[in-house]
Symmetry: C2
Subunit: 210 residues, 2 copies
DNA sequence: TTTACGTATAACAATTTTGTTAAATAGAAT
DNA sequence: ATTCTATTTAACAAAATTGTTATACGTAAA
């Protein structure tokens, strides 16, 4: 109930555009189809957003904030022990992906296709993420030196976390037919997968008994 | 030196098409650009392959064999102990991805966009993969019951393996700017990442000391 | 009421992209 | 030499996609 500020048709177009762009990407989406799905003539689309490009920008802008959010979430809550922090990081990152399951594939593709367009995003992200890496690495190093966990490069750990959490969504339609009944009950699978990813990451940093 | 059987221009077109399609996908690729990159007139492209669609089919056909190969590789060599089998599976799967770094993103996207087109692939894969899952699950269950490893659903394990191995390539251009100097030396990073993924998976199945 | 403004429609224009064709060329087979 | 075939070229046609414009409509302010 918070998006009624803008004219109704403008909003309808934005919603249809988001669906189309997220699923089909910039190249695959068609302005005529977007207009059709929005239930407006396709001239209206150009009236409100001038070009496909500008409409696309709106969708990217709306969604790229979420991406930064997910990356930060994956670093966990600093007010916790290292293990707890990482555990909460995996969990909340996973939850954010579940809430935006189409977003990763979309953005990964668009960034590969037109990297120039996303330079500005990186400048925002780089320092925030860099700082978080630094902090977390310090914590990890300290915990490792006290024998609480195994030493590890947090960037590698981070890459593992987002790999485990994101890939099943990027690859969903690929994996589904191969996994038998594992994925059929979506709720069940999501819960199991979340637990599995947490387990995998925690075991990775767990101190090996000698 | 083994592809000179076909006429030279046909081969040139195929090579250019593979580059374009793998990077830009079906929607993003342009037949004119492919022809240009191949150094032939774009009428030649239609002369040899009639339609963009048919040219695309050729590229898909050529590459989808590799995909089946990677999945099978990820199951490891059955003539080994379970730990060794899984370790070798992760390693050789990783190597296959390194050898075809653009393929995963390409196929994942195309399958999502036009699932119908890939039904035939699944029918081949499903039984092979299903059988491999069954065999491996038996081995794992047995090893687990003897206290050698932790019990686990091999499909979950498989999903983790391909997540860890594939995602960094799918997300390369996204991750690069965020990872600082971690990725700059590609050879070094690949070796480190391979070791990291093996370690992560082996720890996942390692029997916990009590 | 009338003016002004944002919104809507329908028809059209421009551009991009894919696909075709007729005629020219070159080389091998008869 | 002639015929036949595969290849090439250049110009063109068709389709799909994006973008524009002239005109109409409705509503709120003057």
């Amino acid at each position: 109930m918070n998006e009624t500020k803008k004219s109704n048709t403008e909003q309808l177009i934005l919603e249809a555009a988001e669906q189309e762009f997220l699923v089909k990407g910039y190249d695959g989406a068609r302005t005529t189809i977007i207009a059709e799905k929005a239930g407006v003539t396709h001239a209206m689309l150009h009236y409100y957003f001038r070009t496909k490009e500008q409409l696309f920008e709106r969708i990217v802008a709306k969604n790229s904030a979420v991406v930064a959010q997910t990356m930060i979430a994956a670093m966990g809550d600093p007010n916790m022990s290292v293990q707890e922090r990482i555990k909460s990081g995996v969990a909340s990152h996973f939850d954010l992906i579940v809430a935006n399951p189409q977003l990763p594939r979309f953005l990964l593709n668009e960034i590969i296709l037109r990297p120039e367009r996303y330079h500005m995003l990186y400048e925002n992200w780089q320092e925030t993420i860099g700082q978080l890496f630094e902090d977390l690495q310090n914590e990890v190093d300290q915990a490792a030196s006290q024998g609480e966990i195994e030493p590890i490069d947090v960037r590698m750990l981070f890459l593992s976390i987002i790999s485990l959490n994101v890939f099943p969504f990027v690859a969903q339609s690929f994996a589904e037919p191969l996994m038998g009944n594992l994925i059929t009950d979506r709720e069940k699978f999501l819960a199991a997968r979340k637990a599995e990813n947490i387990e995998t990451i925690l075991r990775r940093i767990k101190k090996q008994s000698i």
